[in-house]
């Protein structure tokens, strides 16, 4: 197995006036390639801060974060932007698409920032949109799409640069249950295709789709367990294979 993420003794402290507020207190996590991990925790647990650090949006106060073999803790602004561009694919609760441009150009955007040529960009963006089942919605702007479709566009954007991890923050939070299930099914497919997925959520229902669940409380890891339901299913599948 290849290690994608290695968090070693991560601390994050915010200075609030005269007081120091420590949000993460020595977090240690290792995630391998093609894992499907849910990070759970109530609000104020440090879950969002951890997600920002994993997503290279923020850097830890101390500790080492190794992403695909590079130490993110030592990166400057420019290198962080490059890491976000190449290694991370974000999926947000509120989709975060640019309203003025159509689906295709939203998906194309990460490739613009990685300096790819126009023809190649369009080709890749079209492929990514086809991958999420939106081949006939490419020229629609976000306000012409349903919530589920918007999130699919966002997922296509996250996939387009072939990142090391897909980092999804409450991806079903703004969707109804049925659409939410469809999106979770899409993540399952992406996982089956070999992608590494990190799901940040506070909902048990959503977290149960993951194969490994990490619970955070007060800035520390409370538990890091294999999801028993998923294992059973996997075992069942294995048995079926044997029976066949």
């Amino acid at each position: 197995m290849e290690t994608v993420i290695e968090l070693k003794d991560i601390f994050k402290t915010y200075v609030m006036g005269m007081e120091n507020l420590t949000v993460l207190k020595g977090v240690n996590v290792t995630i391998e390639r093609n894992e499907y991990v849910a990070i759970m925790g109530p609000s104020g647990s440090g879950k969002s801060t951890l997600m920002n650090i994993i997503g290279c949006l923020d850097t830890p106060t101390s500790g080492d974060y190794i992403l695909s073999g590079n130490n993110v803790s030592e990166m400057d602004d420019q290198e962080l932007a490059e890491a976000r561009n190449k290694e991370i694919g974000f999926v947000f609760q509120t989709f975060n698409l640019l309203a003025r441009i159509d689906a295709l150009h939203n998906v194309e955007l990460p490739l613009v920032y990685s300096g790819m040529k126009k023809d190649e960009r369009i080709e890749k963006a079209e492929a990514a949109l086809t991958n999420v089942g939106l081949e006939d919605r490419m020229t629609h702007k976000p306000n012409e799409l349903s919530g589920g479709q918007r999130q699919r566009v966002a997922i296509a954007r996250a996939l387009v640069n072939n990142p090391a991890i897909i980092l999804a923050d409450e991806p079903t939070g703004n969707l109804d249950t049925k659409t939410g299930e469809e999106i979770m099914a899409l993540f399952e497919t992406l996982h089956a295709n070999g992608n590494t997925i990190i799901l940040v959520t506070h909902e048990e229902d959503i977290a149960k789709h993951a194969y490994r669940i990490i619970k955070i409380r007060d800035g520390e890891i409370e538990s890091d367990t294999v999801n028993p339901n998923k294992i059973k299913k996997a075992e069942l599948k294995a048995k079926e294979v044997i029976i066949d």
Binding site: L57, E82, R84, N85
Partner: protein, 407 residues
């Protein structure tokens, strides 16, 4: 990322943002539009004045000294000059006999009269009395016919050389040579047409006729002050000629050693420097006003850009999350502000173009020189960068986490 690709992408994004807020963009650019219009029109006007001046100054020879009662740009009261003794033919003859460093010289005297040709008449024509030496002294070119001869000049023959305006008024479609025109009540035979010389500040050098000075005195009397026009032998030695002419003038005017001159020796140089200080002042004031307009316009754009950046905080957060570097964000907003200014500049040019045509048609002949177009574009880009930099910088250094959280 490739620099040109980056600029191209930023430009596309900028155009999207500008067209999404058309009204706001136009209002933001208004100051720049006014500024660029002002720059262009001012430069066009100055260009026109310069052209008019240079055309006319050519008519007043650069190597000629004008010995007159008045000093062109003297500091004395007008009455002082007016009460001086007239400059007489005897003064001229004395100079002609004695001055060594002159190529040629001629007396000149003038008065306004009404001209008639058949049923046509022309009022307020400047009648210039002089000698045959006038042509050599002031380098007069004839577009038709010839200048008067020494015999005609000395004998006071009734011959006349007409200016371009007079030819146009009387002989638009016919040959003036040999025709008889009336100056006052006297008949003159036209022997030549002086080449067109242009006008300056409403004063035409073409609305005039030249006749022999002998005849001029006979018809209009000798109680007039002359202008003695002296062409220097060597243009590089104007000062020497000026000194010599001054010395002989003192002698013929019987001014004691150390006494005050009662004449002026004028030259084009004085005219030119006064003109230059005048247009310089116009330029200075014009430039200050335009700069003010551009600075106010620039503040307006900076203001709008700050609003735009604030409004699009979330967008900046998204772009940063998917990998936009600081420089890419800086470029995006910088190019947006440059584009607004550039559009403003182009609109300003389009506005000033017809205005320049109007100036050309009704006030003074001019044209928009090409360099003004480039200057306007350069100024637009300069103020675009100037007003866009701080807003763009504030966008570029935003923290992606805070920006993403912004609603």
């Amino acid at each position: 990322m490739n620099f040109f690709l980056e600029i191209k992408e930023s430009f596309v994004i900028a155009l999207q943002a500008i067209t999404a807020n058309k009204m706001r963009s136009v209002l933001a650019a208004l100051g720049i539009i006014i500024g660029i219009t002002a720059v262009t029109i001012m430069q066009t006007a100055i260009e026109g004045i310069n052209r008019a001046f240079n055309n006319s100054i050519a008519a007043v020879g650069a190597d000629v000294l004008y010995v007159q009662k008045f000093e062109w740009f003297g500091k004395e009261d007008w009455n002082v000059y007016k009460n001086r003794k007239d400059i007489k033919m005897s003064n001229f003859e004395f100079l002609q006999k004695n001055v060594q460093s002159a190529a040629s010289m001629c007396p000149s005297v003038g008065s306004s009269r009404t001209l008639k040709y058949g049923d046509l008449s022309l009022e307020n024509v400047f009648v210039n009395g002089t000698t045959d030496e006038y042509q050599a002294t002031l380098s007069v070119n004839m577009s038709d016919g010839r200048f008067m001869t020494k015999r005609e000049s000395d004998g006071g023959y009734p011959v006349v050389m007409i200016g371009a305006d007079v030819k146009k008024a009387f002989f638009e479609n016919s040959n003036p040579i040999g025709k008889a025109i009336k100056i006052g009540n006297y008949n003159f035979r036209v022997i030549g047409v002086v080449e067109k010389q242009g006008s300056l500040l409403g004063m035409s050098f073409d609305n005039r006729v030249i006749i022999p000075i002998e005849l001029f005195f006979k018809l209009y009397g000798t109680k007039r002050s002359l202008s003695i026009n002296v062409k220097a032998a060597d243009m590089g030695n104007m000062d020497e000629t000026k000194e010599e002419v001054g010395a002989w003038m003192k002698k013929t005017r019987k001014i004691p050693y150390g006494g005050r001159d009662d004449f002026g020796i004028n030259q084009q140089e004085a005219f030119k420097s006064t003109y230059e200080s005048l247009t310089g002042l116009i330029k200075l004031i014009g430039t200050m006003i335009t700069m003010l307009a551009l600075i106010v316009g620039s503040i307006g754009i900076a203001n709008i850009m700050f609003v735009t950046v604030k409004e699009r905080t979330k967008e900046i957060g998204i772009r940063k999350a998917i990998g936009a570097k600081r420089r890419a964000i800086l470029m995006q907003f910088l190019i947006e502000s440059v584009t607004i200014c550039l559009l403003g500049g182009i609109i300003g040019l389009l506005i000033s173009l017809p205005i320049s045509f109007l100036i050309d048609a009704f006030i003074l002949p001019t044209a928009i020189p090409l360099w003004i177009v480039f200057l306007a574009i350069f100024i637009s880009i300069f103020f675009g960068v100037l007003s866009g930099f701080f807003p763009a910088y504030s966008a570029a250094k935003m923290d992606p986490v805070d920006a993403l959280r912004y609603e």
